[in-house]
């Protein structure tokens, strides 16, 4: 009896192994590693990739890294063991993920980075980078504020609040330096900067404190939409400022922000076309894996756009 049972188990195992390899052999598998799917931004990227993948008939493995570098590296290691054909990566930090990418290089698995770049000069091979130009986005936000302030006062002056993202994160640094580089040219504009960690609750709380400490607030730039939406809640609740009179601009063109623009509360947001970025990155990876085609440009930057009430239809998302 025992022997028959054993035989049975072995048979099942053998069969499932065979079946498993067959199923895998049918299509390519691409691994996705994003910082965290709890941010709507990355959930959207993931969806865009999955749509493209099902179109091309490719398997996708996506794992949650909880915004922790060490976790992202172990996810990459797991993907190497699973023998994925390629990895689409959004690095959590510019430098810390490098050991993971090194391991991918060693295993000869091609990597495309999307949205965030690895630090320049690190000794790893990247097939391509498709990203947003966060620096230009920050610049465009600043130019929008400058233009609106000029409209309001005749010339660019006033007090501008900048809500900074998570300290140390690539997009936070790039968006802010683009923003600051423009603002520097206008000595009559005072910029007050404080971080709100890319979070809505922090955006609200920091804005509440600015409302208390700042006699005048003419414009607010949130380095992502979550922070500006929190700041808008604080402004709406305050008796000191009228949200309609304060110039407000976010970043990312999230659904909630677009809705707020349509409601006439938020003035603008920066659209970086994440869906297009992710899909383009995925396509480059797929072409390489399937046909060995190397992309013409190793870096593809997608030009960001300012979305206001007049061009809401240009945004990738709808509400």
């Amino acid at each position: 009896m025992k022997r028959i049972g054993l035989l049975f188990i072995v048979a099942i195992l053998a069969f499932s192994c065979m079946f498993g390899t067959l199923a895998l052999a049918q299509e390519y598998t691409i691994g996705l590693s994003f910082p965290s799917l709890s941010f709507a931004w990355f959930a959207f990227l993931e969806q865009a990739v999955k749509d493209k993948a099902s179109q091309l008939g490719v398997n996708v493995v996506s794992l949650e890294a909880n915004d922790e570098v060490s976790k992202q590296i172990s996810i990459i290691e797991d993907m190497i063991i699973k023998k994925v054909n390629g990895v689409l990566l959004v690095p959590i930090e510019v430098e810390a993920v490098v050991p993971g990418v090194e391991a991918l290089n060693k295993a000869a698995i091609p990597v495309v980075t999307v949205d965030r770049r690895l630090k320049e000069g690190v000794p790893v091979e990247i097939l391509a980078h498709v990203g947003a130009d966060n620096y230009t986005g920050g610049k465009k936000a600043a130019e929008f504020i400058v233009a609106e302030l000029s409209k309001k006062f005749g010339d660019p002056k006033g007090t501008v609040i900048e809500l900074y993202g998570t300290p140390g994160a690539g997009p936070a640094i790039d968006r802010s330096s683009g923003f600051q580089d423009v603002m520097k040219q206008y000595p009559n504009i005072t910029v007050k900067t404080q971080t709100a960690n890319f979070r809505r609750d922090d955006g609200m709380q920091v804005m509440e404190d600015f409302i208390m400490s700042s006699p005048e607030i003419d414009a607010v730039f949130g380095a992502n939409d979550e922070m500006i939406l929190g700041a808008l809640e604080a402004l709406q609740a305050s008796a000191k400022f009228n949200v309609q009179e304060v110039i407000t601009i976010g970043f990312d063109a999230l659904t909630d922000a677009l809705k707020s623009i349509d409601d006439g509360i938020l003035d603008a947001t920066i659209e970086q076309f994440p869906g297009k970025q992710a899909a383009t990155g995925f396509e480059i990876l797929y072409n390489f894996v399937k046909e060995g085609k190397t992309p013409e440009n190793a870096v593809v930057l997608i030009e960001p756009a300012v979305i206001t009430k007049d061009n809401l239809d240009q945004a990738e998302k709808s509400f």
Binding site: S38, P167, R199, D201, M212, E226, G230, E233, D256
Partner: protein
């Protein structure tokens, strides 16, 4: 605590620690407030004071519940995840699933209470340290939040629901009333009811409490259920204030909550402390962050200052105990 004051022959050092025990943290709080007030007069603006208490109330409501758990000598790491999970359920009932006002209040509170019950039940009946159990539920319900929300925040609450977090009764924000209400109610429960006495008894000496016939497990489970419910209440306030059920809501809150309790003088070993200390502890954390924001100080400093105060507070607690046992 009371036994201490009855001692007849006290040394100077002991006297200092008794004094510290009574009003030490209050003194620190007052000094910090005065310093901020001098550096930036806006600090004492009544609007700012209300602003700070309102900012603190979300952490504060949870900290009241956490005080009870820590008084038992236990811990709960899952409160932040409960906030996210209950918050997303509240937002779901507001926006997606019919928009019934009462359901969007009651279901999240019941779910949060259920998670608290689960934490208490598994840790007592299963004999697992609550650190492990609540670490597990922290992860489970963060995941469950993502699952329900499918990676997107749920926004757009009804005006009635928005009252919980953003409403005012006269000049006082409604969350402040909820927070101070919780402090008073649980202050009374701890000092004036049998349940409160049991908590101190178990925290002070579990064996003795067990031998004297207290249903230790039952008290523990009930305490975790209370903390769960209060976390649910915090979730309602946060969701209502932000006008949105957020996926990252409550991330890292457990640290601020535990810090409020410990700074407020409740001993991590259990048996000593109370909710009034927690009130001061929560206010102190809120005031530090508000004051440094008003001054435009980068938050790196805020994190360092907060950390330093926590260590000092616990150090004081330890020294107090050492002098007692000598």
């Amino acid at each position: 605590m009371d036994a201490l004051t009855e001692d007849k022959n006290q040394g100077l050092v002991e006297r200092f620690f008794i004094f510290w025990d009574k009003i030490g943290i209050l003194l620190v709080f007052i000094v910090v407030c005065v310093v901020f007030g001098i550096l930036n007069p806006v600090f004492f603006n009544p609007l700012n004071i209300i602003n700070v208490i309102r900012q603190v109330s979300i952490i504060g409501v949870m900290a009241v519940g956490m005080t009870l758990v820590i008084l038992l000598g236990l811990i709960d790491l899952s409160v932040g995840s409960i906030v996210a999970f209950a918050g997303i359920i509240a937002a779901g009932f507001q926006v997606k699933w019919g928009g019934n006002f009462f359901l969007s209040l009651i279901i999240p509170l019941l779910v949060a209470a259920g998670i608290g019950y689960f934490n208490g039940y598994v840790s007592t009946k299963g004999g697992i340290h609550p650190f492990i159990v609540t670490l597990g539920s922290m992860s489970i319900f963060r995941g469950a939040t993502l699952l329900i929300a499918q990676g997107k925040p749920i926004s757009g609450m009804s005006p009635a629901f928005r009252f919980i977090g953003a409403g005012m009764i006269g000049p006082i924000p409604f969350p402040v009333i909820l927070f101070l209400g919780c402090v008073i109610v649980f202050g009374i429960i701890l000092k004036r009811t049998v349940f409160g006495r049991y908590i101190y008894a178990i925290g002070g000496n579990q064996e003795a409490a067990l031998l004297s016939g207290i249903m230790v497990d039952r008290v523990k489970i009930l305490t975790y259920t209370i903390l769960g419910t209060l976390s649910g209440l915090s979730a309602l306030i946060l969701t209502s204030r932000l006008n949105s059920g957020e996926l990252v809501a409550g991330q890292g809150y457990e640290l601020d909550v535990i810090a409020s309790v410990v700074i407020g003088g409740t001993s991590m070993m259990g048996g000593e402390g109370g909710v009034y200390g927690t009130l001061i502890g929560a206010l102190l954390i809120g005031v530090i962050s508000n004051g440094l924001n008003l001054l435009g100080v980068q938050p790196y400093w805020q994190m360092m200052v907060k950390g330093t105060i926590i260590i000092l507070a616990v150090l004081m607690d330890r020294m107090k105990r050492r002098f007692r046992t000598v």
